[in-house]
């Protein structure tokens, strides 16, 4: 819970803020930045309940693409703040060490009705000018967030469970060397599935919960669909959930979620069908890829 920035622009955005800090002598404000927000993603910049913060006023400035790029700026007559031009910083307002630039910040006041608020960044304006950029603040957590999580293509016709577990392992640890056939060998208690992956002993259906346990990333599971808000929460926390699809007429399939969008839309990554934006009603209503229904949910960590 806290203050979030949601980048709904096409390019990376960098945010600087001025936030109340009673630990700063003289002027009780801390300036910090530059928080990078990838396109389509969100970042929690202040982690505290906004209902209980001592001062709900704050100020912020954001720029896209590069230092001194197109910006979201405020009143140039009153809110120029000195900060480092192109380096990470976190220092009291009165401390100008390393500050080699000044920008007109947006002054804002947060409502105390919600523990979270999100600044949604739409289109930036002209660099170097005040009152630039299009943005709005909304109560609650971000409504759009994308993770850099991809389930790879399944290497055998029945290996969706191994593909999903491998994708999750590589998401959490880019140095992971686990492969689909290793996941299969583990679950089947075999040693030959990397040599003979297509054999009838190896190319078989499996359980993704066991596969996720093997790669060390199963947090919890439930034998039902989850709510959109539970999925949102997991995605925003950077922990992509996976689900099982049950086909009408028998059989199942595993896929992962890598993003959320407003109005109950979710991004799925599928080891057969690739990336799609689907409505949760499609998943729960039995029409995913024609006749698939969301039957199980697996949260990861």
């Amino acid at each position: 819970m806290g203050l979030w920035y949601q980048n709904s622009y096409t390019d990376p955005v960098y945010v600087a803020i001025l936030w109340f800090d009673s630990g700063c002598s003289g002027q009780p404000w801390r300036k910090s930045g530059w928080y990078q927000v990838a396109p389509g993603s969100s970042v929690e910049i202040v982690g505290a309940s906004l209902k209980t913060i001592p001062d709900s006023n704050f100020a912020w400035f954001a720029q896209a693409d590069w230092a001194d790029g197109p910006c979201w700026s405020g009143d140039p007559a009153h809110n120029w703040y000195a900060i480092p031009h192109n380096a990470a910083f976190s220092q009291c307002y009165s401390d100008n060490s390393g500050c080699n630039a000044a920008y007109p910040f947006n002054a804002a006041t947060l409502a105390r009705s919600s523990v979270d608020a999100t600044v949604v960044l739409l289109q930036p304006g002209v660099a170097g000018r005040g009152f630039q950029g299009c943005s709005y603040v909304m109560a609650g957590q971000p409504t759009a967030h994308l993770l850099n999580f991809t389930v790879p293509s399944q290497l055998e016709s029945l290996w969706c469970w191994a593909a999903v577990a491998t994708g999750v392992a590589h998401y959490y640890n880019s140095a992971s060397t686990v492969t689909q056939c290793q996941v299969v060998n583990n679950q089947l208690g075999r040693t030959d599935c990397c040599r003979n992956p297509g054999s009838s002993n190896c190319n078989v259906t499996g359980f993704v919960d066991k596969a996720l346990t093997f790669v060390g990333h199963l947090k919890s599971e439930q034998s039902s669909a989850a709510t959109y808000s539970a999925i949102s929460e997991a995605v925003i926390a950077g922990t992509p959930p996976c689900i099982r699809i049950g086909w009408s007429g028998g059989g199942g399939h595993f896929i992962g979620f890598f993003g959320i969008e407003p109005t109950n839309l979710v991004w799925v990554t599928d080891p057969i069908y690739g990336q799609s934006l689907v409505s949760t009603a499609t998943l729960t209503g039995g029409t995913y890829q024609g006749n698939g229904t969301w039957t199980n949910t697996y949260f990861t960590q």
Binding site: T10, G40, T205, S248, P262, S279
Partner: protein, 202 residues
């Protein structure tokens, strides 16, 4: 081989057009399908003019294992394809009396259905005297997709062309009769049903 261009139902197009604000506002679409996203901004009515629309039929594992006829396949959705160079986007709207937006695929691992149809038309000289209406047949439990060329008039034989990648037992791009196609998949369907269990997947 003359392949007719299917005419999508207007309610399906209307549902798609109603998704314009959500699709235009989607950062994920801008990121994954930038040309499609730009076309929405430059020409908002472009959603109503897909490059190709086709019906999607599905068949369950139980039907395949029972050796069912293709007439058992259910019309599940209409898919609307938008191509711009290498970038292919396929939006899907459910079939039925109350069509609903199912989703939009922006990064398929397959060739577009437009390309598959072009390829089928070019390589199917033996069927030149026949006219067909294209459908996409999905047996999702087996990960199978196939062009189902419905003969026009319906009294003549249909043709089923599995699309790559295919599971063992099927050959991509080969022409099957509907009965041959089901027979080729039957052993795999029976085997999957034998090992099917809650919580399992393929």
């Amino acid at each position: 081989m003359p392949i007719e261009r299917p005419q999508p139902p207007q309610p399906s197009i209307d549902v798609l057009q109603a998704m314009l604000p959500a699709l235009m506002g989607s950062a994920g679409i801008r990121h994954s399908a930038p040309k499609f996203a730009a076309s929405l901004v430059n020409s908002p009515r472009s959603l109503s003019s897909p490059g190709l629309s086709y019906p999607v039929y599905t068949l369950g594992l139980d039907s395949v294992a029972a050796g069912a006829r293709l007439s058992k396949a259910k019309l599940a959705a209409w898919r609307h394809e938008f191509s711009s160079g290498e970038e292919v986007v396929a939006a899907e709207v459910s079939a039925g009396r109350q069509p609903r937006f199912n989703g939009i695929n922006v990064h398929s691992r397959f060739r577009s259905v437009s390309e598959e149809l072009r390829s089928a038309a070019e390589t199917s000289k033996g069927l030149a005297d026949q006219s067909y209406q294209p459908r996409l047949l999905q047996i999702s439990a087996l990960g199978v997709r196939a062009l189902w060329l419905k003969s026009q008039p319906p009294s003549r034989a249909d043709v089923v062309i599995p699309l790559a990648p295919t599971p063992p037992g099927l050959t991509a791009n080969r022409h099957y009769s509907p009965a041959e196609f089901i027979e080729a998949l039957r052993p795999a369907a029976e085997a999957l049903l034998r090992t099917d269990a809650p919580g399992k997947g393929a």
